[in-house]
Symmetry: C2
Subunit: 214 residues, 2 copies
DNA sequence: CGCCTTTTTAACTAACTGGTCCGTGCATGA
DNA sequence: TCATGCACGGACCAGTTAGTTAAAAAGGCG
């Protein structure tokens, strides 16, 4: 639109809203809902505390908005992996690699979800849009499993949601519990050698498991 | 003249301390460090808020005491499984089953650890005793892996800590993320059929993985 | 008994924190 | 140009919260 005018105020509601959301995401991820301070968010914002309430009504509503935005972000990133054309095993490896990288690269998302679980996911339940979000990944997994069974790559009888859980659990835990784990075992999980080894491990474990019925 | 039902007071510092710790554990597990209320703990205690400070000095110190006690509890429960005499595969299955059951039966422990991770494990790092706690499980796993390799049950080259992580991740995640997971996928994880299926799944996955080099 | 530890009670404070009041600046269209 | 509605901000309020104070008194060990 127009150029920056240093003296005059520029009304840019969209920008203000997004700015608040971005700062709030960091704050809630770092301290949880209860530990987060509205004043702290306001300070790091380019606007004021009053504006937070102007746009988001309450601390809880702001928190929910942060949560929804975080989930929306994944949806837009996922599913352009073109797995349909790949061999089942290769497709699965690609999918696992993607999940692994996502959690590793978005610790703030992992922390938000962890915090929400401590609060029994009550806020997430209030949200209508989050629920039907991960349907696509289940559909993708179902397709891979079927094709793998047809061509003999997989013989294991397994439910797609269970499989998703097996994969998610490892990828998520690596990030969500990194601090206590590395404190106890004195091991740096974000080291690139560890990173690669773990990525290969979860993929190999899943593939081994699916290969044969036992 | 009217007298109280309880005429005599019993001085039992140990009991008082334990009572405070037990109530505090519930409160911290339910709401996290920031969300927990000292007054709320005091109310549900058979003693008073003053006693909390008499024995624990501050909210943070109380929280740390809760954390340490939770970890100490596992240590005392584990390692009487007599795995040394069992075949490697059977020993491993027993160990996995035990980890699985532990997390399932102690959601308050899982929540405490989750919360501590959100806070970057800063309190845990202050504790001297928690660190050298899980050495025993690594030793046990190392032993099982060596025996399994010797008798040909396992051919996979793997580090014991990585293996522990693979097992823990699934068991922990099932509990720590139960609320968001079941909200998204509309599945009740504490149902006994699901419980048994998942327990078998993680054991089979680990065994399959260890069996062959790929 | 004599002395130290444990326990009780209730009021209190100082800082904090979520939320609001009320007034001002900005842009636009009539 | 002026009215109107949206965007904005500083100061403030009212409730909450960790932590304290003080005065007593009962338990228990030697």
């Amino acid at each position: 639109m127009e150029k920056h005018e240093q003296v005059s105020r520029k009304n840019d509601p969209e920008r203000t809203r997004e700015n608040i959301l971005a700062v709030a995401t960091e704050e809630f991820a770092a301290h949880g809902l209860a530990g987060a301070r509205v004043d702290a968010i306001a300070e790091r914002t380019r606007t004021s505390k009053r504006m937070i309430y102007y746009y988001f009504t309450s601390k809880e509503d702001l928190y929910l908005a942060v949560l929804e935005k975080a989930y929306r972000k994944i949806r837009s990133r996922e599913a352009d992996l073109k797995l349909a054309g790949m061999q089942p095993v290769a497709a699965l490896r690609t999918l696992i690699s993607n999940t692994f990288d996502h959690d590793e690269n978005h610790p703030e998302f992992v922390r938000l979800v962890s915090g929400e679980n401590i609060l029994l996911a009550v806020h997430m339940r209030r949200s209508t849009e989050i629920a039907d979000l991960n349907v696509s990944i289940i559909r993708t997994l179902t397709d891979i499993l079927e094709r793998g069974k047809a061509d003999g790559s997989f013989q294991r009888e397994i439910d797609a949601i269970d499989l998703h859980m097996l994969i998610s659990a490892f990828c998520f835990f690596r990030v969500s519990n990194a601090h206590t784990f590395s404190t106890i075992f004195r091991r740096n999980l974000s080291e690139s050698a560890t990173y690669e080894r773990h990525k290969k491990m979860i993929a190999d474990a899943v593939i081994s498991y699916l290969r044969l019925a036992m």
